[in-house]
């Protein structure tokens, strides 16, 4: 090897390096925030387009970045080891170390949303129930919510994560077995309110204040939902998933707030106002543009009637073009049905058995006549016009169906009616009277209790006459225990529930509910006492046997 070849080799190496710098620059140039809007190299652009760049995900934390760097390329392995450790600590009930480990995982993978969701759920739902003291349980629920809030800091563009904070604050605190205790603790938890305030929630606003002026978990949840809607509105990723399910949460939190007030005995203007606010929030939901998975377009829940009206008008127009066409078609279709199908259709609905119902369903499918079919059967002279109208009508039908489907999905009509009904003075009085009956029943003052209950049932009957759709499990949920008391009370008088009892339908609902509850069979008779009744204290026979 002479000097020349060595020199040539060096030159070729250097040229190779210089040449490689170009694709490297093309790929890896960092994005800049200068006024010329340097979008950076290909990788930076891809990161930005796919919402993977730190700057579009959320806050950048120096600790987290340091930890990620300190693990070099071993971050995934470190994370796996930490997950394994967290699981082991949890199994061994070493919860201090669970939280410490989970924090480390989140620092290593701050933009992996599943970690925040999974571990927050773990803290608030799984670990919390392992504690016997409800105060400790609350602390773990709080820790889960806190963990989620921290996650929103690193993933500020993720509307769903923000929504989860609302869901935990609402449902976990306000929907657990210990909801009364949790709600009380939350309301007095000033440091936690301060934490929420640090995440941009106005905790001293009237919007979150409960009856006592302190933050109420449902109303705070409602604000978190509002925040998630804001995030969805302004972020590039928008709402991922079902829009309706996303938007229904906000009014729902207000409804549950109002229900919680009633449960807690605020049977006065407080509850009425809460239902009024919930009602207007539902109406607001009705006028929102919501993407329907049915039509692929945005629709509003309050457009149902409008679509139906337009559909009816279009049908009338089509009918006017050929007055007998639809009826002729229907008759032809009916004639083509089998004899049992025809018989089933002719049978009065209340007499139909399951067999008949099946037949009717089949028949109805065959009897369905689309607007296009009607148009096609029109005389040639008006056919073209009919076809145009039919296309429009069918489009309208699809939209009307889509709105109806969306309304039924979230029980929209029921909740609207419920909010309306609960604002009635009569409803408040009925609830008060029922509560009075309960109070007297607990005090074993049976006769006055019976009088109060019967007064209340009359009021409820009146309400249900105006609002028949309210006779459901949901409305009845806080009436059922009172009705059960009443049934027991009647038993004390050796009477049974009268056949014409106005709230029989609710009693039936209660009975189906109760039938599902299995009896406790924890304690067994002992070999020495095979006839022992469950739950009997066995101490005496133990001492005798010894």
């Amino acid at each position: 090897m002479n000097l020349e070849t060595s020199f040539k080799r060096k030159v070729s190496y250097i040229s190779g390096i210089v040449l490689l710098l170009f694709p490297l620059f093309y790929l890896g140039q960092p994005a800049t925030s200068d006024s010329e809007g340097g979008r950076g190299g290909k990788l930076a652009q891809l990161r930005s387009e796919n919402y993977l760049a730190q700057s579009n995900l959320g806050e950048i934390d120096p600790v987290s970045s340091t930890m990620q760097l300190a693990t070099f390329g071993l971050r995934p392995i470190a994370v796996i080891v930490l997950w394994e450790k967290a699981t082991r600590f949890q199994k061994m009930e070493d919860y201090d170390n669970v939280t410490a480990t989970v924090n480390q995982i989140s620092k290593l993978q701050p933009n992996f949303v599943s970690i925040w969701k999974f571990q927050a759920h773990n803290l608030a739902y799984n670990i919390s129930v392992d504690f016997d003291n409800y105060r400790h349980r609350y602390q773990w629920v709080r820790r889960g919510i806190d963990f989620l809030m921290e996650g929103t800091k690193y993933n500020s563009q993720d509307a769903k994560l923000v929504q989860e904070v609302g869901a935990y604050t609402g449902s976990k605190i306000g929907g657990s077995d210990e909801k009364r205790q949790f709600r009380r603790l939350f309301s007095a938890d000033d440091p936690f309110h301060q934490r929420m305030e640090n995440y941009g929630l106005e905790m001293d606003s009237q919007l979150v204040a409960g009856v006592d002026g302190k933050p109420d978990n449902w109303k705070v949840a409602n604000r978190w939902y509002q925040k998630s809607e804001d995030v969805a509105k302004f972020s590039d990723s928008g709402i991922r998933g079902d829009w309706l399910r996303f938007y229904e949460r906000k009014p729902q939190a207000l409804i549950y707030y109002a229900i919680a007030l009633e449960d807690e005995g605020y049977l006065d203007t407080n509850a009425q106002q809460a239902f009024a606010v919930a009602h207007s929030s539902l109406e607001e939901l009705g006028s929102l543009d919501i993407l329907s998975s049915f039509t692929g377009t945005t629709l509003r829940l309050n457009q149902g009637a409008e679509f139906q009206r337009k559909l009816d008008e279009l049908r009338q127009e089509i009918n006017a073009l050929g007055p007998d066409v639809r009826e002729t078609l229907r008759k032809e279709r009916f004639a083509s049905l089998s004899k049992p199908q025809q018989d089933a259709l002719n049978l009065a609905p209340e007499l139909r058995t399951e067999y008949h119902i099946g037949l009717v369903q089949e028949a109805n499918e065959q009897l369905f006549i689309s607007e296009t079919e009607v148009a096609e059967a029109m005389p040639e002279s008006v056919k073209e016009q009919a076809m145009l109208l039919a296309a429009e009508a069918e489009d309208m039908a699809v939209q009307a169906d889509a709105v109806n489907y969306m309304r039924s999905m979230i029980n929209y009509d029921y909740w609207l009616k419920r909010c309306e009904m609960e604002q009635l003075e009569l409803a408040i009085t009925a609830r008060k009277t029922t509560a009075k009956g309960d109070e007297l029943f607990v005090q074993a003052r049976l006769q006055p209790a019976r009088l109060e209950y019967e007064k209340a049932w009359e009021m409820w009957t009146e309400i249900f006459e105006d609002y028949p759709s309210m006779i459901t499990k949901d409305t009845g949920q806080n009436l059922m225990p009172s009705i059960a008391n009443y049934v027991e009370l009647l038993g004390q008088f050796d009477e049974e529930v009268p056949e014409d009892f106005a709230l029989r339908s609710i009693v039936e609902l209660a009975e189906t509910e109760l039938a599902g509850t299995p009896e406790s069979n924890i304690q067994f008779p002992s070999p020495s006492n095979p006839n022992r009744i469950k739950g009997e204290v066995p101490k005496n026979d133990y001492l005798q046997n010894k």
Partner: protein, 620 residues
């Protein structure tokens, strides 16, 4: 706190059972050396000569080298090792430790419920890992480097005996490690104590007073990420005595003192403790009151994956019975008449509810003090039940005053006080029965979950004992490092030491994999499962023949691993961080067991090292 059942074995009993293991360890190493030495010598010479050379070596060791050990030469060698270690800049480890502590706040969870546990766990484990890594590097590379650089000639040409070279290295590196450990311990202590120190304030105007009782309640200010609820007795004058206390938060509470019109809080108490527990043995009666030897089922499982604790069912005869031995009246400050004193019990129970019950109330339980003499009648054996409310995930006290220990008089049906030591304790033995009172609710417990609390030990002393455990690990690693370096080159010696440490730490896991308790199979099987994405608990989908071949190979491999792991020291036993962190005194028996183990390894490896060095004929 979780206590390994082996810790309940007293030192004397443990020693009797451990002697066998130690003899096996010594024999294995001795036989291995003899066979290897004989084989090598026989290859180089004849078998007859090999017998005389190996025999001569043994004779020289016993009659010359060991009896003529020179302290002066060992000190000289030690000094050399210390100088070498310092030249290798080992003090950098201390600097690294300090840097880690400076940034600890970044990755430690400062809002944790028990920051003391977290801080202590962190400093102790960091010290351990750093020192063990250091010991491994320094000890494994020293001799091989000397041999490579031929500096060993400067030593072996002098009249230094082989074991003195070995001892010098171990003592020298041990000494450097010890100095580092002391520095780390001091810095750690300061870190923990300062990290936990904080002051809360109480705004006098914010106290809510109950006019009837004169009791005041409220919240302290939020400091160090927490606040406390507090109670103040407004009827007290104050002075040097506290007028109130705060509730426990983050593992500690504060006393409240009156300072003029204001209230001030004392320093945190209750987070750095050294409780001295007196443990009893635990057995169960089943729900029909039967002992296990009468066909009883013992404690129950409530379906938890972790089976450390067993459960008793409420409102049945399911009973947890602790038998205590060696009790004396002095332990309970018994008065001269024997009717004054207190039995200080501490419990750490788990509660498992199958129904909601009273959400705001705790589950009720009862304690009975019972005479262990089963021949007595039930009336004479049992005290009347003393009730308590279970608090979960925290140690709670049930202090039984002697006047609470009563029994129903069969004649008058009145409850009468009984004399603990005359009526219930027999030869220092007493049974304590625990039951759950509420139907369909359960209490969970393990042996260490109920104990009699003796006067408290010093936290500082406990901290020292914990670091003594780290020191012994340091000595063990140095011993292995120097031993391997007598016949392996530097990097291989280090890997061998690392292997011993890893196997010592994970011997439990290796045992679990081998016995099948840890699902997923041995290394080959789990590798296949990983690649083919098969879950750990399903049968391996490879066909019968292939599966049995894989499992046979794994089984051979695991058997070998387990045999080696058995020879390695059980490092987790030396780790007493959890005891310090949870505030339990480290038992002297535990320290004695560790010292004995360390000494055994010291002598075995010293002899082994001696024979290896002398048989390598370095100078030749």
């Amino acid at each position: 706190m979780v206590v390994d059942p082996s810790e309940f074995i007293p030192f004397s009993e443990w020693l009797a059972s451990a002697v066998g293991g130690f003899v096996v360890l010594a024999l294995v190493i001795f036989v291995a050396w003899t066979v290897i030495a004989f084989a090598f010598t026989a290859i180089r010479n004849t078998p007859q000569q090999a017998v005389s050379i190996v025999g001569g070596g043994l004779k020289r060791a016993v009659l010359e080298d060991f009896p003529r050990t020179s302290i002066r030469r060992i000190v000289g060698m030690t000094r050399l090792a210390v100088q070498e270690a310092i030249r290798n800049k080992v003090l950098i480890i201390f600097a690294l430790f300090v840097v880690l502590l400076l940034f600890a706040g970044w990755f430690l969870d400062v809002q944790n419920d028990h920051p003391a546990r977290l801080y202590l766990g962190f400093v102790i484990s960091t010290s351990t890992y750093l020192l063990l890594a250091l010991a491994m590097f320094v000890s494994a590379f020293s001799l091989p480097n000397d041999i490579k650089n031929k500096t060993i000639y400067t030593i072996t040409t002098k009249p230094v005996r082989a074991h003195e070279i070995f001892l010098g290295r171990v003592l020298g590196f041990g000494l450097v490690g010890t100095v580092l450990l002391i520095l780390m311990a001091v810095v750690s202590y300061v870190f923990v104590v300062r990290g936990l120190d904080h002051v809360h304030t109480i705004e006098t105007a914010s106290i809510e007073w109950d006019d009837e009782t004169g009791m005041g309640t409220g919240y302290t200010s939020v400091d160090s990420h927490h606040r406390h609820d507090f109670f103040i007795n407004g009827n007290l004058e104050g002075g040097d005595d506290p007028v109130g206390f705060t509730e426990v938060a983050q593992g500690h509470s504060h006393a409240i003192f009156k300072d003029g019109e204001n209230y001030v809080l004392g320093p945190p108490t209750g987070d750095l403790l050294a409780r001295v527990p007196v443990y009893g043995s635990l057995r169960f009666l089943d729900r029909y009151g039967r002992e296990s030897d009468e066909g009883g089922d013992g404690g129950l499982s409530v379906g938890k994956e972790w089976t450390y604790r067993e459960y008793i069912e409420g409102n049945t005869l399911n009973t947890a019975i602790w038998t205590f031995e060696g009790l004396t009246p002095e332990m309970f400050n018994t008065g001269p008449a024997g009717d004054e004193g207190t039995v200080p019990l501490e419990l750490n129970l788990r509660v498992f509810r199958t129904t909601k019950g009273d959400i705001e109330g705790n589950i009720q339980g009862e304690v009975l003090l019972v005479n262990p003499e089963k021949t007595l009648s039930v009336v004479d054996r049992y005290s009347a039940p003393i009730s308590f409310e279970a608090e979960e995930f925290q140690t709670f006290q049930v202090n039984i005053d002697y006047d609470e220990i009563r029994r129903q008089n069969p004649q008058t049906a009145e409850l009468e006080q009984v004399n603990l030591f005359r009526d219930l304790v027999v030869d220092g033995k007493l049974e304590i029965h625990v039951r759950c009172r509420e139907h369909a609710q359960f209490f969970g417990m393990a042996q260490a979950d109920l104990y009699i609390r003796a006067p408290e030990g010093s936290f500082e002393m406990n901290f020292f004992k914990c670091y003594l455990g780290i020191w012994m690990q340091l000595v063990l690693v140095t011993l292995f490092g120097v031993f391997f370096s007598t016949f392996l080159n530097g990097i291989v010696a280090m890997v061998a030491t690392l292997a011993i440490v890893v196997m010592g730490i994970s011997s439990g896991f290796i045992g679990e994999v081998q016995s099948g308790d840890a699902p997923g199979g041995g290394p080959i099987e789990s590798l296949i499962r990983n690649i083919t994405q098969q879950g750990a608990t399903v049968d391996l989908d490879m066909g019968e023949t292939a599966t049995s071949v894989i499992q046979a190979m794994d089984s051979f491999y695991l058997d070998t691993m387990e045999s080696i792991a058995k020879l390695a020291p059980d490092f987790p036993k030396f780790n007493m961080a959890s005891k310090v962190a949870y505030g339990y005194d480290i038992d002297l028996d535990l320290i004695l067991k560790q010292i004995t183990t360390t000494l055994v390894y010291f002598f075995v490896l010293l002899f082994a090292g001696y024979f290896v060095i002398s048989s390598r004929e370095i100078a030749a």
